[in-house]
């Protein structure tokens, strides 16, 4: 590649990388600041521009004045996200297999329409469902509970699982199912013994999407929980008033996104093994 193009290419990648990292770096230095590091104007380097302090970080895990309980919301987010993702993945994969392999017909409705129905649930903005969910959960006494949130999240994550897995299953040749059936497997055994073991890449992608979208939800957690159950994003945003010091804000934010960054590494390793869009035949 000719010199000038190489320079542009390197510059572009560096520029974008800088853009990507910038907010994290800012949050990181800010988390070590105290009032002096903030109120005079933006500061960047510890010891050079300001005096670093661990106050914010101590506050996260300790108790007492100025502390923020991050552990509880973290755990709550984990439980809700993992349960909803697991259930969505199971139900969604089953439905996706059905849509991929069998022909459904109910009047004018057929496979493609059903798949579209699943996927189109994503079009609904949370705001449309928030109020009815609020009233519905209230009716069943599920407001401000983990169970209530899990139920709502299943409705959000199931379409994702279906979308990813239908495409994936369509890429597995039908002859494999047929061979299994000839060898004595009922359709369920075929699915369980033959297709699923060959579906790992798709399941991983679907699972990761579910976990990420679930973990990162703010709106439903915001509308449907108050004090008993608090998810992480809500906990962090509730700090976002002019009262909360920037350093606590930054520290909490970093803690909340750290696990996802780890997941990002894991995802990348998996992506390199197979394609995102489907399996090799």
């Amino acid at each position: 590649m000719p010199r000038p193009l190489r320079i542009i290419k390197t510059a572009a990648i560096l520029a974008w990388s800088a853009f990507v990292i910038a907010p994290f770096l800012w949050a990181l230095t800010t988390s070590f600041k105290t009032a002096n590091g903030v109120t005079a104007g933006p500061t960047y380097l510890p010891y050079v521009d300001y005096e670093p302090s661990l106050a914010a970080w101590k506050g996260l895990f300790g108790s007492g004045a100025g502390s923020i309980d991050i552990v509880q919301p973290f755990a709550a987010s984990m439980i809700v996200t993992l349960s909803a993702s697991a259930i969505s993945l199971i139900l969604g994969t089953l439905a996706a297999y059905g849509l991929s392999r069998f022909v459904y017909k109910a009047g004018p409705i057929s496979n493609n329409d059903l798949t579209f129905f699943f996927v189109s649930q994503r079009i609904m903005p949370p705001v449309v469902l928030a109020i009815p969910f609020f009233l519905m959960l209230g009716f069943f006494g599920l407001l401000d509970t983990i169970l209530g949130l899990v139920i709502v999240y299943i409705a959000l994550l199931l379409p994702i699982a279906v979308w990813v897995m239908v495409d994936f299953f369509n890429n597995i040749p039908r002859e494999l199912d047929e061979t299994a059936m000839i060898d004595g497997c009922t359709p369920i055994e075929t699915f369980w013994r033959v297709i699923l073991p060959n579906s790992l890449p798709g399941l991983v992608v679907a699972g990761i999407f579910c976990i990420v979208f679930g973990w990162n939800d703010f709106f439903f957690a915001f509308t449907l929980t108050f004090t008993e159950t608090q998810l992480l994003p809500v906990a962090i945003v509730s700090l976002n008033s002019s009262v909360t010091p920037w350093w606590s804000l930054s520290a909490s934010a970093l803690v909340s996104v750290a696990p996802l960054i780890v997941v990002a590494f894991l995802v990348e390793r998996y992506l390199e093994k197979g394609s995102l869009a489907g399996a090799d035949k």
Partner: protein
């Protein structure tokens, strides 16, 4: 094939029924509520016919929010598409570079949008944030990031681009990697330079994946709300107020539940129609459909 029927239902029904159960009732309920005058002053399900819908017709704020949403969503998706494609093209050939950048570029997408929005708000703080510091460094001077209509919109778009370009990047990269090599070899043999190769080989071959990625991103972008809630609160004024945000204000802040329900249904119908049209238009490029 004989004997399949009971299995068909076993696979599809659990998921389908669960989804229907959770989504259908709220939806029907919302429709019912939209015909009521439920608000803070008179809570409860009465019936006022199409009153709410009539009000929507003359609600300029709603229609403006739609236009704004269209603008913002389109800008976001276009920018994300172009940047992601450019980046993907730069790195897809070389494995080490590809892996490194893939991780790096992946991170924003995985982070919690609301949480990052909190950080962005501190960044764009007009006197205490690094953004204006950078502007001064570049000789541009202070920008009224969050207090001017135009710049607030820029901030919203910028944050969304930061967050979701990785999504496009991933999809496009996967697409590039799955392309057959032959056309590229043929183009090279024919002496085509990188630009010709792109327009004649790469871009057309990527059309189905591009179309799919754009549609998915459009659907998600149309729901943009959390960023606006945290960073601009729809402001200044209503400068960054999208439809979702407006519905949120009417419903959960002003507590005009009946009206908000009507707004929701109207919005939903408009979005489904629009997105279906766009999907059908792009469907010419979609080689593989769902099932």
């Amino acid at each position: 094939m004989y004997g399949l029927s009971r299995y068909k239902f076993f696979f599809l029904l659990p998921g389908l029924l669960t989804l229907l159960a959770i989504i259908l009732f709220p939806l029907i309920f919302t429709i019912r509520v939209s015909f009521s005058g439920w608000d803070a002053a008179s809570p409860g399900l009465n019936f006022i016919g199409g009153g709410n819908y009539g009000r929507i017709f003359s609600d300029a704020r709603f229609w403006e929010s739609l236009v704004r949403l269209g603008f913002i969503a389109t800008a976001c998706v276009l920018l994300e598409y172009v940047i992601a494609f450019a980046l993907a093209l730069l790195v897809w050939h070389q494995v080490r570079l590809r892996r490194l950048t893939r991780v790096l570029f992946l991170i924003p997408m995985m982070t919690t949008p609301v949480v990052m929005a909190v950080i962005w708000r501190t960044i764009f703080h007009e006197s205490l944030g690094p953004a204006n510091d950078l502007m001064q460094l570049l000789g541009i001077g202070n920008i009224a990031w969050l207090t001017s209509a135009g710049w607030a919109t820029v901030v919203v778009i910028l944050v969304d681009v930061w967050q979701w370009t990785p999504f496009m990047f991933l999809l496009l990269m996967a697409g590039l990697l799955s392309l057959p090599r032959e056309p590229f070899l043929a183009a090279a043999i024919d002496g085509a330079g990188p630009i010709r190769t792109f327009f004649d080989v790469t871009f057309p071959a990527m059309a189905p994946i591009s179309a799919g990625a754009v549609i998915i991103r459009l659907i998600e972008a149309s729901k943009i709300m959390e960023t606006i809630y945290v960073v601009t609160s729809g402001g200044p004024g209503t400068a960054t107020e999208t439809s979702s945000y407006y519905i949120f204000i009417r419903g959960l802040r002003d507590f005009q539940i009946g009206y908000a329900a009507a707004l929701s249904i109207t919005y939903l119908v408009i979005m489904i129609v629009l997105l279906t049209i766009i999907a059908k238009l792009l469907a010419r490029y979609l080689v593989k459909s769902g099932a």
